[in-house]
């Protein structure tokens, strides 16, 4: 079970959190004309790397805040956690 540092609450066990997908994907702006490819990249296409990955987690049984986790998908090492609008 991972030990995750919520940027708002501190270190908590994984069972308080829900995984929320790739955090490097940015939703296209509303009302903007975009190609099918751009949209598909946003909706479907993910890299799923073995190694470092920036991802969203949701502190669902805690403060209910979404935040970013920089994690190694192979070793589960967590390098850093950030608020949603902080950059690595």
């Amino acid at each position: 079970m991972l030990f995750i540092k919520c940027p708002y609450c501190g270190i908590r066990s994984q069972n308080e959190f829900a995984y929320g997908g790739d955090a490097t994907v940015k939703r296209p702006e509303l009302n903007k004309e975009i190609s099918d490819k751009e949209w598909d990249d946003f909706v479907y296409n993910r890299k799923s790397p073995r190694g470092k990955h920036l991802e969203f987690w949701h502190h669902i049984s805690g403060c209910r805040q979404w935040f970013k986790v920089h994690r190694d998908t192979a070793t589960h090492e967590i390098f850093k956690t950030l608020k949603p609008h902080e950059e690595l």
């Binding site: 991972l2 009302n31 949701h58 805040q65 967590i78 949603p84």
Partner: protein, 998 residues
């Protein structure tokens, strides 16, 4: 019965406390402090069970977790527990145990025939033989294998014992209380660290209980006792015996099972049987020790053959002799300790040492005691079936390939020592790397991945002096990192015997013309010949060899077999062991009972139960409940002998005719507040929300970004910047997370706050042509007319003094209202509705009638919004705004979504107007077409239409719009039904929606 093999006064057992117990129906005596194994051996019993594949007689091979054989069925306090290790089970008064894996009994076992058929049961036998013909599997092979194989018997009774879970945090977790564990724990604790010390056995001290050493001016055991006593008194230390740390998980989370009451005749009230500890440790010291390795020879699984360290432990801890004519077979010095112990107890052992004659402290001592030592000698084969009777021994050449003349000598036990294997399971589970150490012919931990340090013999250090030095140091350094204190203890002086080098020898060659079975894995009956065969058949990877032969795959996880297996593979392959590599170590290190894993989350406690404030009213009024997520909802209210069908039909009819009331508390409710709330809803929902006036509700559909419908519901503008959103019961939690995602991550500029209010409100849906009359009675001061409260209107008012919200919304398709009051007033509201509704013939209705009403109206719900359908599929395209963007809109342009033959919702009626169509049925053109019959779609929901008094279903089928009027078939292979049907509009009742607006 006398305990013929019990020594007069040696051991740590309490001879003043005699304990009676039964094994295979026969009564014996032992002492407090015995294990079942030691008590049986004291009584001369060595035959405990039968092996897994060949059903060969099996005895005791170890004295603890290392034992691969001694599994018994335990009867304790009228409960029967399978696969208890006799070497671990402590004796208690009245204990009863039986052998497993034998029928009719352990002395005469029918499966033993497998032993004589063993040339037909080679490696992979099951894979090869029982594959074909396929039809034989269920009828012949499987029942046969089931009967012949397997260990203990599980009971079908409910486990009445209690198991608990505990979460704990510490600076340092120490896994094992041998010299290395005690030293690290002590040194860290003295430096201020919060320490947990876990010992698997009942007694602390590990090897110090049986070794002849001095630490400071005390014996090893005295020193261990002193340290443990001191640790137990320290407030920063938790000391646990009977506690096995069996798993090392991510981020230094370790799991330990503590056996709390299994050593007692029964579990006391309020006491758990086992406790599972989830321990998050800043640092871990792995001091799990080492396990002696077997040397492989012919029939080396015969009862009476065991590890030399176990023989010593039985003498020194339990005061029990494993035999009176012992043969000791070794490739190293440590077995001499066992020989000396025998000699001290008046028994004359014979030592066979594979090495050339040499001298060391121990060998000299043995020689001085007059012990008969035969150097360059090995055991070739053991004779005896249920117990070893003699051994064939021979001189062996220096290169260990040629045997001299075979000689037979009588013996009643053979104590084997093939040197030591560090217990690296936890270190490896942590993700750390291991390396092969040539000096000890075994793997040791090398590079740590997590915060762990392995010390003592688990790290391949077999002398006490270095062990203590390193462990004191490790405890100090690790604690210093955490506590920043520098209270360093001095390491006590050690007196111990020096060992000479062990012999790199692990398997005795077969004499010419002999085909003795030489076992590697005792629990799974894997012999040298099985591995040889697997390699001949082309298996190379050690992981494949393991799975094919089942080497190391038994419940003992290959504690005694893995390394010898690797040696064999590397010998045949002409590789060195590190090239072959070891198989992956996975938790648990020792078996864990399912009860401990489940803990207290059993039955009703497996998940929370959510009940509406009106729950007790429903109970009193014969509601039959159904699970809706975590909620319990009334499915129907049973009158007399009514069936579900009768009751739901009556309830639904009454809604269409008079008025009904349904508990809708479970609907998800979310408060959406803030100046940008309208804009936010406009992005979340597919339809327009900017112009919804205060006091009005609107139906909305929300999509996922991939264009699939996520949820639907009504949202009401309570005030300028305050909306009350409802979601389906099932999606409530997901919708909240979804909204939070967009507010926190995607559009943080929107000034909106969302919070779940599901449990703040109790809800009652009042539906039916007489609902307005009832509402007027409930709210005499409020104008409930069609003008005063029009369709989709909302007012805040008082229900006999209690704050209430009325929404004129309808799920049933009838004139209907939803009344919400604060949860605490829910029951008051409900009783008022029932009381005042009496004159209008009100009846409560449950989820079944609710479904009927919505299905015949063609309202979509969870069975249509199943995570695969688009708004078009559900005929919701009218709700897609063309003027604005919203979540998921871009996806709706996808070719597949706008394809003309895309599936669409329709109604389905059986031609005979009688046969109900099972939900999940396929809609096909031709009922008798060749398989696979092309499927047009599926039936999503079925009901008995109370409006037309015939069955009606909703279905989602290809090109649905153009199918209306067509005669097709509904096929349910599951129920073996083929029903001719007609496709109709999904809006079966009141297609223009006049009733809701009336």
């Amino acid at each position: 019965m006398t305990q013929e093999f019990r020594l007069k006064d040696e051991g740590l057992i309490d001879r003043s406390k005699k304990i009676s117990f039964k094994f295979n129906g026969k009564k014996y005596f032992g002492y407090e402090g015995d294990t079942l194994a030691s008590a049986l051996i004291a009584n001369g019993v060595h035959l405990v069970g039968r092996s897994f594949k060949y059903h060969r007689p099996r005895g005791f091979y170890g004295a603890g977790v290392d034992d691969p054989y001694a599994l018994v069925q335990l009867i304790r306090n009228n409960e029967t527990i399978p696969n208890i290790k006799a070497t671990e089970q402590e004796l208690f008064e009245g204990l009863e145990a039986k052998s497993v894996n034998c029928w009719p009994n352990v002395n005469f076992d029918i499966g033993g025939i497998n032993n004589f058929l063993r040339i037909f049961l080679p490696a992979g036998f099951y894979y090869k033989t029982f594959m074909w013909p396929k039809s034989f599997w269920y009828r012949i092979y499987e029942p046969f294998i089931r009967k012949a194989a397997g260990f203990g018997v599980v009971t079908h009774e409910h486990d009445k014992e209690r198991y608990e879970h505990k979460y704990e945090y510490c600076d340092l977790l120490v896994t094992g209380s041998g010299p290395s564990g005690l030293a690290s724990a002590y040194s860290a604790a003295k430096n201020g660290a919060k320490v947990i010390l876990a010992e698997d056995k009942p007694r602390f001290g590990g090897s110090l209980l049986t070794s002849e050493v001095t630490i400071g001016n005390q014996t090893g055991k005295e020193w261990a006792d002193k340290i443990v006593t001191e640790l137990k008194e320290m407030p920063n230390v938790v000391v646990k015996n009977r506690a096995q740390v069996f798993g090392y998980y991510d981020h230094n989370m370790l799991v330990m099972s503590e056996r709390i009451s299994e050593h007692m005749p029964k579990t006391e009230k309020f006491m758990p049987k086992q406790k599972l500890w989830y321990i998050r440790a800043k640092e871990v010291v792995i001091s799990s020790g080492s396990i002696e390795r077997p040397i492989v020879f012919g029939n080396n699984d015969t009862p009476g053959i065991l590890l030399s360290s176990a023989a010593k432990e039985y003498m020194k801890v339990y005061g029990v002799l494993v035999g009176k004519k012992p043969l000791i077979f070794t490739n190293n010095d440590s077995a001499y300790e066992t020989a000396i112990e025998f000699k001290k107890n008046g028994i004359n052992p014979i030592v066979l040492d594979s090495r050339k004659e040499l001298n060391s402290d121990l060998i000299t001592e043995a020689k001085n005691l007059g012990i008969d030592i035969k150097f360059e000698h090995v055991v070739v084969n053991a004779n005896g079936y249920r117990k070893v009777k003699s051994a064939d021994i021979a001189k062996i050449s220096e290169d260990k390939t040629n045997l001299g003349k075979i000689e037979n000598i009588a013996c009643d036990c053979i104590c084997v020592s093939g040197f030591w294997t560090p217990t690296i399971h936890l270190a490896s589970q942590s993700g750390g790397k291991t390396k092969f150490n040539e000096d000890i012919d075994a793997f040791i931990p090398s590079q740590s991945k997590q915060n762990e340090t392995t010390v003592g013999s688990a790290n391949g250090i077999f002398n006490l002096n270095d062990t203590l030095k390193n462990s004191f140091e490790a405890g100090y350094e690790l604690s210093k990192k955490i506590t920043s204190k520098e209270n360093k203890l001095s390491v006590p002086a050690v007196v111990e015997k020096k060992n000479s080098k062990h012999d790199k020898f692990w398997c005795v060659p077969l004499p010419k013309g002999k085909k003795y079975k030489r076992f590697l894995d005792f629990q799974n009956d894997v012999a040298v010949s099985d591995i040889e065969l697997a390699l001949r058949e082309g298996y190379r990877s050690i992981e494949h060899v393991k799975r094919y032969t089942t080497l190391g795959m038994a419940t003992d996880q290959g504690k005694t077999s893995n390394l010898n297996g690797l040696q064999l593979v590397s010998n045949i392959e002409n590789k060195v062991v590190p090239e072959v590599g070891h198989t992956t170590f996975r938790p648990p290190y020792t078996p864990v009972s399912i009860g401990a894993i489940v803990g207290r989350e059993v039955g009703k406690h497996s998940k929370p139960t959510r009940k509406s404030p009106m729950h007790s009213w429903h109970e009193k009024n014969n509601a039959v409940f159904v699970d809706a997520g975590l909620w319990l909802r009334p499915r129907y209210y049973k009158k007399g002998n009514e069936t579900l069908f009768d009751a739901s039909k009556r309830e639904a009819e009454n809604v269409r005719k008079n008025v009904g009331v349904c508990d809708v508390t479970t609907l998800g409710k979310i408060d959406v507040k803030g100046p940008d709330a309208a804009e936010f809803l406009n992005r979340v929902y597919t339809n327009a929300w900017l112009k919804l006036p205060v006091g009005k509700a609107r139906y909305g559909v929300m999509l996922r970004e991939d264009g699939i419908v996520m949820d639907d519901g009504t949202t009401t503008r309570v005030s300028e910047n305050h909306y009350h959103m409802t979601t389906t019961t099932a999606q409530a939690a997901n919708v909240l997370s979804h909204l939070e995602y967009y507010l926190q991550i995607v559009w943080p500029e929107l000034n909106v706050n969302v919070v779940s209010t599901t449990e703040q409100w109790a809800g009652a849906a009042i539906a039916g042509p007489k609902s307005r009359d009832l509402l007027q009675k409930l709210f005499p001061e409020t104008d409930c007319s069609n003008d005063g409260l029009p369709f989709m209107g909302f007012i805040e008012t008082k229900l006999f003094g209690v704050y209430a919200r009325i929404f004129r919304i309808s799920f049933s398709g009838e004139l209907a209202y939803e009344v919400n009051v604060e949860s605490d007033n829910g029951n008051f509201m409900w009783e008022k509705i029932i009381e005042l509704g009496e004159e209008f013939k009100i009846q409560p209705y449950g989820t079944e009638a609710l479904s009927t009403l919505r299905i015949e109206m063609g309202h979509v719900a969870g069975s249509e919004l199943d995570g695969r359908t688009t708004p078009f599929d559900n005929s919701l395209e009218g709700l897609l705004s063309k003027k604005k963007d919203f979540i998921g809109k871009r996806s709706l342009q996808k070719e597949a979504f706008i394809s003309p033959d895309r599936e669409k919702i329709v109604g389905v009626v059986p031609l005979d107007k009688k046969t109900s169509i099972p939900e999940g049925s396929y809609i096909v053109r031709d009922a008798n077409a060749k398989l696979p019959n092309p499927k047009l779609g599926h039936v999503s929901a079925s009901c008995w239409s109370v409006e037309y008094n015939n069955p009606f279903s909703l279905a989602i089928i290809k090109d649905g719009k153009n199918m209306i009027g067509q005669k097709l078939f509904a096929l349910s292979p599951l129920k073996n039904k083929s029903i001719p049907v007609e496709i109709v509009s999904s809006h079966y009742v009141d297609p223009k929606g006049e009733r809701v607006r009336s």
